[in-house]
């Protein structure tokens, strides 16, 4: 494993050997350039994301259990076509990200960069579609802070629908936030590749960002059906039935 040559000399990893009583030699693992450690660390970080979204899904499940019909009614009003387009967009972006990593590992740095750009483009498309969706919902009077999602006025929706949309905007919003973070990470990755700090031999950063992107995809795999599909059996089509 190559180490970062720009760093302080004292950081340079000197391979070390421990000798047991029989005189046998054992390699000592250092923290520098520890590929397995980097991978494990990032997986552990992703588990915290799983717990975060897991807790939100738990909140969602709690209210879904309480207000079953309201949830189905509210879900039927979401735009399934746009949601579905985004699902496919994210699916393809996961492919480009994975192929980029493959190219990087096989030594094709230029191809890898192209794939990262493609992933970022798809991420931007996802955000664009999301923006169109939220705007449409806003114009139908469904948005945080608007009357329909407040209590005690003539436009107020039932409890279950208020809670459904509250969680919908929270969870898709936080998921979108993760997409934005992902774009930032990919830009940073490109910068590191250009400055020669991420190379085919030293690709842990690329590997971990690819993992992150897969996690963002993975969360959407559950967010999408939970919000868009649970009400699909009731009303065909995908038009907001607002006031």
């Amino acid at each position: 494993m190559a180490h970062d040559s720009h760093e302080h000399d004292a950081h340079v990893y000197v391979p070390e050997i421990a000798i047991d009583r029989d005189g046998k030699e054992h390699v000592v693992q250092g923290w520098q350039g520890d590929y397995e450690g980097g991978k494990l660390g990032f997986w552990l970080f992703m588990l915290t994301e799983v717990l975060m979204f897991g807790a939100m899904f738990m909140v969602l499940t709690y209210y879904f259990t309480l207000h079953h019909q309201d949830f189905i009614n509210a879900s039927a009003g979401l735009n399934r076509v746009l949601g579905g387009v985004n699902t496919v967009v994210l699916l393809f972006s996961a492919l480009t990200m994975g192929l980029g990593l493959l190219k990087m590992r096989s030594g094709d740095v230029k191809g890898a960069k192209l794939m990262i750009w493609a992933t970022m483009l798809l991420a931007a498309v996802f955000l664009g579609v999301k923006a169109v969706e939220w705007t449409a919902e806003y114009h139908h009077g469904i948005f945080l802070g608007l009357d329909a999602l407040q209590s005690g006025n003539e436009h107020s929706k039932p409890f279950g629908e208020i809670l459904f949309f509250g969680m919908y905007f929270t969870m898709t919003g936080l998921h979108g936030f993760h997409i934005i973070i992902g774009i930032g990470l990919m830009l940073w990755l490109l910068k590191r590749i250009n400055s020669g700090k991420v190379t085919p031999e030293h690709n842990i950063l690329h590997f971990n960002i690819a993992l992150y992107w897969d996690l963002v995809h993975l969360i959407w795999v559950f967010v999408f059906p939970y919000f868009y599909m649970i009400g699909a059996g009731d009303i065909a089509g995908g038009v907001i039935h607002g006031h």
Partner: protein, 558 residues
């Protein structure tokens, strides 16, 4: 004289000339641990001051010095600072950083730069937490703060309605939670990847086991409270409705989510403390620890079961009876691995050559105070008794016997134990022992009357009380005075030790674990000169003498 980590360091970036900047940018785990200790104990005294203010106010019924609203802010300040700024980073941030890599023969933690970043994230969290303290106004000659008045638990819906600045406190708790997660992540990877060759999991010192179990809780419980605080913020500013009963939201759900983290958090505090106990007891009994595997696995069991018991905080707030029974049952289970640890420690001392140095005194004192704290916890795990005792001083006394008499006492024990390792000097034993006795007496005088007051119905968090409770509050008050004097004296003795204590050898206690086999005291920048091959158990004593010995190249010579 060889160079120690006080003389040279690695930095996160750049090579600053000034000593100050070298400390600010250091990625050395030992220096970061010391900086955590300095900051944490500064805040510890802030929280002690808030608590003492409350004790003064409660000396007699009725209003004395502060207004009822300020009293609410004082206990919030006390709770927030003690919990989020002091005891949650606590032992892992200080001794997990300083000692854990030394114990497993590593040069540093797995991600030293992340460690540096985590420390500064913690500092940012501290600043945000206390920022609203500086937002005060003086009107009509009285001082009013804008600090949150919700208690450290931020229960909805009050936290959503209060006019005080609960936002900065929520944001701070989120940032501090992030710092805690990153610390745990770093330690988990370190323990998995950087153990010296030959050291399998059952050859690790028990403190490392404590840190390992703790790190899992930090990693997997903290995100839940993080997202809860985010949801509370979104609720407050965007009205998502999740915790707002007016929109069908359930405030009890907030309590669930909050305690899913905050109950495991107390195990996160106590497990590394138990680890310190498991280091001190064999070292000062000069005897191999009894039941090594049971202690190690009971740490894992406490962490595992500890995840699943949060509901016992909600017995009085509206849960199904079935869930109450499940939670009560699971809560009793936590007492089993804890009891196993206690029996193991006592069995270790049996027929040992017990040396009553200061660290051992602290450990023995904790066996008494934590036994009271732990067993009183079992009494309030019973649903029926809990209905009566939940919101009384009984629970306060239980909590402080467990946290102060358990975690903080063992923290002090660890400070006295590893002091010569960190500074290469020794404090005055006689004075440190005197400080221990003062603190121990003050502690019991302060908290024990609260068990009785609570049993007779003195409610917690009250600014005023009925005259019949006065006697308990006054005993507590004098206990608090003794306790705080002892605290100040203890830190005075330690600081005297740093400034002009006698230099020590690398292993003054005749202990066996790897951190006592360093080439010099204080240790050099990159720890052990050579990494040993570990083919021995961590606490091997024979006739009161350590079995394992190394030559200067860390090769075994026994």
């Amino acid at each position: 004289m060889s160079k120690s980590y006080f003389d040279e360091t690695h930095c996160a970036f750049g090579h600053p000339k000034s000593t100050f900047m070298q400390w600010m940018l250091t990625i050395d785990h030992k220096r970061i641990g010391i900086m955590y200790a300095v900051v944490m104990f500064t805040f510890f005294f802030v929280a002690v001051a808030a608590a003492l203010t409350m004790r003064f106010e409660l000396f007699a019924p009725g209003q004395q010095f502060i207004e009822a609203h300020t009293f609410n802010q004082a206990f919030t300040l006390h709770g927030v600072v003690m919990v989020f700024l002091f005891i949650i980073p606590g032992i892992p941030a200080v001794f997990g950083n300083i000692v854990m890599p030394l114990m497993i023969g590593a040069k540093d933690v797995s991600f030293p730069r992340l460690n540096w970043f985590t420390f500064w994230l913690y500092i940012v969290g501290c600043i945000v937490a206390l920022s609203s303290l500086f937002n005060f106004s003086i009107a009509d000659g009285s001082l009013t703060f804008n600090f949150a008045d919700t208690g450290w638990t931020f229960y909805a819906p009050y936290s959503l309605n209060t006019d005080t600045n609960v936002v900065s406190t929520l944001v701070a708790a989120f940032i501090l939670g992030m710092a805690s997660i990153l610390t745990g992540l770093n330690f988990l990877v370190t323990i998995h990847r950087l153990r010296a060759p030959g050291m399998d999991f059952f050859k690790m010192p028990l403190f490392v086991w404590g840190i390992y179990a703790t790190a899992w809780i930090q990693l997997l419980a903290t995100p839940v409270v993080g997202i809860t605080l985010v949801l509370a913020l979104l609720e407050k500013y965007f009205g998502i409705g999740i915790f707002d009963p007016a929109k069908g939201g359930d405030p009890v759900l907030f309590q669930h989510l909050f305690w899913i983290y905050s109950h495991p958090a107390v195990y996160l505090m106590i497990l590394p403390a138990f680890g310190i106990m498991s280091e001190i007891i064999p070292a000062f009994s000069r005897r191999e620890i009894f039941g090594y595997r049971t202690i190690a696995l009971s740490s894992a069991a406490i962490a595992g079961v500890g995840y699943l018991v949060w509901g016992h905080h909600l017995f009085t707030s509206g849960m199904s009876d079935l869930a109450k029974i499940i939670f009560s049952f699971l809560t009793f289970f936590v007492a089993i691995p804890t009891g196993i640890k206690f029996y193991d420690w006592i069995a270790t001392m049996y027929k040992g050559k017990i040396v009553l140095d200061t660290p051992m005194l602290w450990a023995l004192g904790t066996i008494i105070t934590f036994a009271i704290g732990g067993l009183s916890g079992v009494t309030i795990a019973m649903i029926g008794a809990d209905i009566h005792l939940q919101d009384t001083y009984y629970t306060i006394a239980h909590f402080h016997y467990a946290m102060l008499g358990g975690v903080v006492f063992l923290f002090f024990a660890g400070i006295h134990y590893w002091f010569p390792l960190v500074f290469g000097k020794m404090y005055s034993e006689a004075k440190a022992k005197f400080a221990f006795y003062t603190l121990f007496i003050g502690f019991n005088l302060l908290w024990f009357p609260m068990f009785i007051a609570g049993y007779y119905g003195m409610p917690r968090r009250y600014f005023d009380y009925l005259p019949e409770f006065q006697i308990y509050h006054q005993i507590s008050f004098w206990g608090a005075i003794i306790f705080v004097s002892g605290l100040i004296y203890m830190f005075y003795v330690l600081i005297q030790g740093i400034r002009n204590g006698k230099p020590t050898t690398p292993n003054p206690w005749n202990a066996t674990t790897l951190e006592w086999h360093l080439p010099s005291s204080p240790p050099p920048l990159e720890n052990h000169t050579k990494v040993p091959y570990v083919d021995f158990r961590p606490y091997e004593y024979h006739h009161g003498q350590p079995v394992v010995k190394f030559d200067e190249n860390m090769k075994r010579i026994d």
